[in-house]
C-alpha cells in the first residue's frame, strides 16, 4: 500500500487548463493509486471530461505536470509516449468505434498494429475479449452502426482492453444505459478490474456506480478537487457543491433506499 501511495498510476500536479479567457481547471492536483477504481464527479461542464482528455494528451495544458505510470509525457520521447499509449485504454463517451470496421476488427486493430500475432491468434483473442465483456462471438461480425447503445459500450470496452492495459479511462461508461444494463456494466468493470489488475479512472454521474464499484471518489468543483477519498469521507465533506450533489433529492432517495435495503 505504501509503494502504491508513493508511486501512483497517475499523478497530476498544479494543472491549469483553459480555453481563451475561461479557466476550466485551476491548479488541480490528483493522484490515482495503482489498482484502484477512482470515480470522478463534477457538475456538467465542470471540466471532468477536460481533465480526462488532458491526462490522455488530447487537450494542451497551460501549466502543471502530469505523470502516467511514473512517466512525464511532456518530457518523454516519441518512443516512450507510444509505449504509454499501449499501457492505457480509453472508453470514449460515444464509444468512438471505427465505423467502417466490424466489431471484431475494431478490437483487433490495436493488437494488429502493435503486436506480431498470427491471424488465428488474433481471431481467438478478439473473440476472447468480446466474450469477456459479455458479447457473443457472432456480434464480432456486426458493424458499429448495427449495435445497440449497451453493446456499443461493451464493444468499446473490449477495444480499450485489447492490449491488456494497466490503466483504463472510462468517460461516463453507464450514461445512456438502462439501470439493469448499467448495473451489469458496473459489475463487469469490477470483475475485469480484479482479474486483470486494472487501474480505472472513471468519469461518471451515476450515483449507483459511485456507491458500488468505486474505491475512491474525487469531487471536482471550481476547477479543483474539493473532496477525495472513500465514499463515506466524500459524503462527510462540507463543501457546498459536494453537499448539494450528494444530498440533493435524487441522491437522498437513493441513499435511503440503500439504508432500507
Amino acid at each position: 500500500m505504501d509503494s502504491a501511495a508513493e508511486n501512483p498510476a497517475i499523478r497530476v500536479r498544479d494543472l491549469v487548463v483553459g480555453f481563451g479567457e475561461q479557466v476550466v481547471l485551476d491548479h488541480l492536483s490528483l493522484d490515482v493509486r495503482r489498482g484502484e477504481i477512482l470515480g470522478l464527479v463534477g457538475a456538467s461542464g465542470g471540466g471532468k471530461s477536460v481533465l480526462l482528455r488532458t491526462i490522455i494528451g488530447l487537450i494542451p495544458k497551460r501549466q502543471g505536470r502530469i505523470e502516467v505510470m511514473g512517466l512525464d509525457l511532456d518530457r518523454a520521447g516519441h518512443q516512450d509516449a507510444s509505449v504509454v499509449g499501449h499501457r492505457w485504454g480509453i472508453l470514449f463517451q460515444q464509444g468512438a468505434l471505427f465505423s467502417s470496421l466490424t466489431t471484431r476488427q475494431n478490437v483487433q486493430f490495436p493488437m494488429r498494429e502493435n503486436l506480431r500475432l498470427s491471424e488465428r491468434l488474433l481471431d481467438e483473442l478478439a473473440t476472447a475479449k468480446l466474450e469477456m465483456v459479455g458479447l457473443s462471438p457472432d456480434d464480432g461480425d456486426k458493424f458499429p452502426a448495427e449495435l445497440s447503445g449497451g453493446m456499443t459500450k461493451r464493444a468499446a470496452l473490449a477495444r480499450a482492453l485489447a492490449l491488456d492495459p494497466a490503466i483504463v479511462f472510462l468517460d461516463e461508461p453507464t450514461s445512456g444505459l438502462d439501470p439493469i444494463a448499467a448495473g451489469d456494466f458496473d459489475a463487469l468493470i469490477q470483475t475485469l478490474q480484479q482479474t486483470l489488475g486494472l487501474t480505472v479512472f472513471m468519469v461518471t454521474h451515476d450515483l449507483d456506480s459511485l456507491h458500488t464499484v468505486c474505491d475512491r471518489v474525487a469531487a471536482l468543483a471550481d476547477g479543483k478537487v474539493v473532496a477525495i477519498g472513500p465514499m463515506a469521507q466524500v459524503l462527510a465533506s462540507q463543501h457546498p457543491w459536494v453537499k448539494a450533489y450528494f444530498q440533493g433529492k435524487r441522491a437522498r432517495t437513493l441513499m435511503s433506499a440503500d439504508n432500507r435495503g
Partner: protein, 376 residues
C-alpha cells in the same frame, strides 16, 4: 525477462515449466513456444504446466496456455496447471469460459456464383439508383408544389444562405477557371488556324463554343464538384447523426426544410455563374487574341458581334437551370442514402459527384439534339 517454456518428458508425462513475462510484448515468441510445446504435448498422456516461475501474465499469455491445455485434453485426460500464483487465478477462470463456440462462419461462395452475384446486385443497384433519383425528383416537385400553394412555407433565409455559399462564394474560382479556359481555347485556336490563314475565325469558334457549350458545361462540372459534394456530405452526416430522423418525427418534411432551399439556391446560382463564367472566358479569349494574336479589342468585339447571335447565348442559359436541378437532385438523394459508417459517407459523396457530372454531360447531349431539331 524473455518468456520461457521448458518441457521435460518423463514416463509419467510431460511437465512444462513456465517462466518470464507472458505478455503481449512478447507475442511472437510466445506463439512459437506454445506451438512447439503443442507438438510435444501431442504424444504425452499426462501434462502439467508449472506456473510458479511466471513473472507477468496477461490475457494473451493466459489464453495461449489455456489453448495448450484444451488441445491436450483430447488425448491426455490429466492436463492441468500447477502452482498457479493466486493473483492470476481470476484471469484463468475468465479465459476458461471464452472461445468455446466458434463464430458461425459464412460458407464461401463459388467464384463463378460470386461473379454472377456481383453482376446481379449491380443490375438491381442500377434500378435502385434510378428509382432513388426519381423519388427525390418527385419529392422535390411535391415540396415545390406545396410551397407554391403556401408561399410562407418557403425557407427563404435558408435558401439565401445557401445561395451565398454556392453562388456568391463560388464567383472568384469560377471566374478564374473559365478565364483561363477562354485563354487556352483562344491560344490553341490562333495557333492552329494561323497555319491556313484563318485566325480571324477564332472569334467565331470562341463565341459559339463558350456561349453554347463550354461556359455552362465547365461551370456545371465545377458546381457539381464544389457544391454538390458539400450537399451530399452535409445531408449524409445529418443522416448519420439521426438529425433527419429527428426532423421527421417532429412532423417536418426534410425535403422541404433541408433539400428544397438547397436546390432552389443551386437553380438560381448556376445560371448566374454560367453567365459570369462565359463572360470571363470571352474576356480571356479576347485578351489572348489581342496579346498573342495581335487582334485589337475593337476588331475582336466587332467580329464577335457578327459571329454570334442572341440564340447562342439563349441556348447556353436555358440549359443552366436544368443542370442545376440534376446536380441538386443527385447530391441530395445520395446524401440521404448514407448509412452509419464514415466509409459510406465517402462512397456516397464520390458517387454523387461522378453521377452528377455524368448526368450533366448526358443532359447536354440531349439538349444538343433538341436544339438542333428545333433549329436553334
Amino acid at each position: 525477462m524473455e518468456p520461457l517454456l521448458d518441457g521435460i518428458m518423463r514416463e509419467d508425462g510431460l511437465t512444462l515449466t513456465v517462466a518470464g513475462r507472458w505478455t503481449g510484448a512478447h507475442a511472437a515468441a510466445l506463439e512459437r513456444l506454445v506451438d512447439a510445446a503443442a507438438a510435444q504435448a501431442a504424444q504425452a498422456r499426462r501434462m502439467t504446466i508449472d506456473m510458479a516461475g511466471v513473472e507477468a501474465l496477461d490475457t494473451l499469455g493466459a489464453w495461449l496456455l489455456e489453448r495448450l491445455l484444451r488441445g491436450a485434453s483430447g488425448h491426455a485426460p490429466q492436463a492441468e496447471l500447477a502452482r498457479l500464483p493466486e493473483r492470476y487465478r481470476g484471469l484463468f477462470e475468465e479465459v476458461r469460459g471464452v472461445n468455446r463456440r466458434p463464430p458461425t462462419a459464412r460458407p464461401p461462395l463459388n467464384r463463378l456464383l460470386a461473379g454472377l452475384d456481383a453482376v446481379g446486385r449491380a443490375t438491381v443497384g442500377f434500378k435502385d439508383d434510378f428509382l432513388a433519383f426519381l423519388d427525390m425528383f418527385g419529392a422535390i416537385g411535391a415540396a415545390t408544389a406545396r410551397v407554391l400553394v403556401h408561399p410562407s412555407r418557403l425557407r427563404l433565409t435558408s435558401a439565401v444562405h445557401h445561395l451565398s455559399r454556392v453562388g456568391w462564394q463560388a464567383v472568384p474560382i469560377i471566374l478564374l477557371i473559365t478565364f483561363l479556359i477562354g485563354c487556352i481555347i483562344s491560344q490553341q485556336g490562333i495557333f492552329h488556324f494561323r497555319k491556313f490563314g484563318a485566325d480571324a475565325y477564332v472569334v467565331d469558334m470562341l463565341g459559339i463554343l463558350i456561349l453554347r457549350e463550354i461556359g455552362v458545361l465547365i461551370v456545371s462540372i465545377m458546381v457539381a464538384g464544389r457544391s454538390g459534394s458539400a450537399y451530399t456530405a452535409e445531408l449524409g452526416s445529418m443522416k448519420m447523426r439521426e438529425e433527419i430522423d429527428a426532423l421527421r418525427t417532429m412532423g417536418f418534411d426534410p425535403v422541404e426544410i433541408l433539400i428544397l432551399p438547397r436546390v432552389i439556391a443551386l437553380v438560381i446560382a448556376l445560371p448566374i455563374l454560367a453567365f459570369l463564367g462565359s463572360m470571363a472566358a470571352l474576356y480571356g479569349g479576347g485578351l489572348v487574341a489581342w496579346l498573342y494574336g495581335g487582334m485589337s479589342p475593337g476588331i475582336f468585339i466587332a467580329r464577335l458581334r457578327e459571329a454570334i447571335s442572341v440564340t447562342h447565348f439563349e441556348v447556353g442559359m436555358i440549359k443552366a437551370p436544368f443542370m442545376a436541378l440534376v446536380i441538386g437532385t443527385v447530391a441530395c438523394s445520395e446524401g440521404l442514402r448514407v448509412k452509419g459508417s464514415a466509409e459510406s459517407l465517402g462512397t456516397q459523396t464520390t458517387t454523387s459527384v461522378v453521377k452528377s457530372i455524368f448526368l450533366v454531360i448526358v443532359l447536354d447531349g440531349l439538349f444538343a439534339i433538341f436544339f438542333a431539331s428545333i433549329g436553334m
